[in-house]
Structure formats: C-alpha cells, structure tokens
Amino acid sequence: MDATAFAQETGPTITLLEVKDSPETRSVSFILSKTDLATANALRRVMIAEVPTMAIDLVEFESNTSVLTDEFLAHRLGLIPLNSEQVGTITYTRECSCQQYCPQCSVELHLNVRCTEDHTREVTTRDLVSSHTSIAPVLNGPNDRGILIAKLRKGQEINLRCIAKKGTAKEHAKWSPCAGVAFEYDPHNRLRHTTYWIEDDVKSEWPVSANGRFEPEVAEDEPFDYNAKPEAFYMTVEGTGALDPKEIVTTGLRILQAKLSLVQLLLKEIAEERGAVARPPMNGFH
C-alpha cells in the first residue's frame, strides 16, 4: 500500500447526498467527515469568495431615458449571473497585457431596447446580447423570461454597452458563484457549541434539522464529553447558475490546494535564504 492509498483509508471522507440539477435548483449536498472544522470552513469560505466567475464590471451608457438612474442600472447589471463555464479561458484584466480591456480579458454585452408599444416594456436579461458564444446571462431553458432589469414606458429607451470581467467575490460579491452554502455540524448540539434560546422546552421549540438522522440522539443522562470535536460537516452548495455546483466544489478545493502550495513554496524560499545566512560563504578560508 503506497502513501496515497493509505491516506485515502484514514483521511477525510465524502458522502454525496443529493445532486439537484433541475431548472429551479442546481445544488449539491454532501457530508464531509473525518476532517477538522477549520478545513471544512476553509472550503466553505473559498467556495463563496474565491472561485472566479464572470460579471459585468463596466457599463457605458449611450442613452438612458428610463426612470432608473445610470448607477442604479449599472448595479443591477453587475449582479446578473453570467454563464461562467468558460471562465478558465479568460484572464484577469489586471494580469492581461492590454491597456484597458481586450477580448482576452473581457466580454462585451449590449443592451439596446426602446419601448414603442402602448404597454410597459419589460427589459430582461433576454435583451442582453453577448459577443461571446457561451459567456452570456444565465437562462433556464427556452421558457425562462430572464431576470427583470428595468421597465420602460412608451418612448423611453436604454442603450448601453457592458464589459464583463473575470473576478472573485473577495473583490465584489457579484462574482460569487454561490447563491447559498448551507453548513451544519453536530445537529443534536452534543458538543454544546450553541445555546438555544428557549421559553420552556428545547426539544419542542428547536426541531432537529434533516441532518439529525445521520447522528445518534443525545441521551437524557449522557455525560458531557468535553474532548469531543466536530467530525461530520453537512454542506449544501447552491449555485447562482454561473457555475455548476459540482464545479464550484472542485474548483474551490483546487484553489485551496493552490493557496497552500504557494505558501509551501514561499516557506521553502525562506528556509533556503536562512540556510544561506546560517552558513556564510567561506571566502577562501577552510
């Protein structure tokens, strides 16, 4: 048995619970067990804040005669999830060799709508035209009407140009690929990490979550184990549509690995530097 096979026997385990892939919900639920709270939390934090996606970052207004201000519209446009499966092929603008932005580090989208009918014209993400084949507003099938951006009265128009860039949610939450990340451990509160606010009775006032079925209940007369540590973490990752939730988890883990590897490399440099200082050059003397 080699080292990696051994690690698989003893190391952390994953139990997939549910993979939802319907237009309503795209999520993945799993149990991460035999690992530490900090590891599980690091994964959660990385998935929320450090998985790159595409989002509209610059908006140039040609004309806007709607009731909404330019800033208001620009903010709404920024929050629209864009399909980011191809985000790997785009570079960060700050790392790109171009002056401002170019097709390598950005995607251009156009919105040109004018209301000519007597009834209200709803401007949705369906009206956003992308210059890229796949990086475009997320739509759930042909019947999806898209996300409402603005409403126009007769004679009003919006004509603008958007520049979508690659980014992470550390910079702005609009780049987060996660709609929600559920994170739970110790559903029966065996470790007493939380104190329930109650009126009379904990059991009737605080129903056990669905994850309670995976762990035994706490017996009435059970002594408190103060050395116990959380071991199983119940996670559900729900995407905005920008990325497949499975992709969010794997990319998150890859980013976490890369982050640690970078630190490892830099520490090695420090160790080598210090080794050089500790053993000064001989300068001809022996």
Binding site: D221, T250, L256
Partner: protein
C-alpha cells in the same frame, strides 16, 4: 467613489513586498512570527488548527491585526528539537494532502454517481461517533 481604495488591494501583494515574512522571536526560544499578506481567516485558521495537532507545537495562534488590512500574523512556538519554520512546512504538506484527498474523493463520488444514476444509498448512521452507552 473618488477615494475608494483599488479593488485589487485585497488580492495583490504590493510590488517589492514579500507575501510571507518570518521573524524569529528574540525573547522566546523557538518562536517565530509569520506575516502573510493578502490572506485572511481562510488560511490563517486552517494553519493554526493544523499546527495545534502537532505535539511539537507549544503555541500556535493567528490574528488579523486590522480588519481593513488584508494580512494575518501567525505566531508559533515549538519544542527545542525542531523550529517553527520546519513544523509549518511539514504541516502545510499534510494539509495539501488532506485537501487533495477530499478533492479526489469528491470526484470519485461524482463519477460513481453518474455510473449508478439511481438513488444514492444514504448511510443512516455513519461510523463517525459511536454511541456511548454508559
């Protein structure tokens, strides 16, 4: 927004600065302080936790000195037979392996799910914490 700090300020290490610096403690033996730029609780807490698992570590703690400055400091004191740098390097290697295992197992679980698209068996009682009958 004229005085807004640049958005990449919390991501990019300023030119001429090192992402990680180590300073040995002058008063405490076998102790060092690592300053890691542009990283937060994600990495800080992860390293601290992993270090505390090592019996050679006497002290390990981290803090973000200021919420608006994107950096954390990690203090480590070890037993005399090793050094903070060695211990940190060793534990990071362990963490990389741990995350690698999680990634591998997650991908394996996904593959076996696509191979058997039926309802996945849900283990009702995982053998993670045996019920104690006192």
């Amino acid at each position: 927004m004229a005085n807004a700090p640049p958005t990449w300020e919390l991501l990019l290490v300023p030119e001429g600065m090192k992402k990680i610096t180590m300073e040995m403690d002058t008063k405490i033996p076998n102790a060092a302080t690592f300053t890691v730029l542009k990283e937060d609780h994600t990495l800080g807490n992860l390293l601290r936790m992993q270090l505390l698992k090592n019996p050679k570590v006497i002290f390990a703690g981290y803090k973000m000195p200021h919420p608006l400055e994107h950096q954390f400091v990690l203090k480590i004191q070890t037993t005399p037979d090793t050094s903070p740098l060695d211990v940190l390097q060793h534990e990071i290697a362990n963490l990389i392996q741990e995350v690698g295992t999680i990634k591998l197992k997650f991908e394996n679980a996904l593959t076996s799910r696509t191979l058997n698209p039926g309802e996945a068996p849900i283990p009702m009682h995982l053998p993670m914490r045996e019920r104690r009958d006192f």
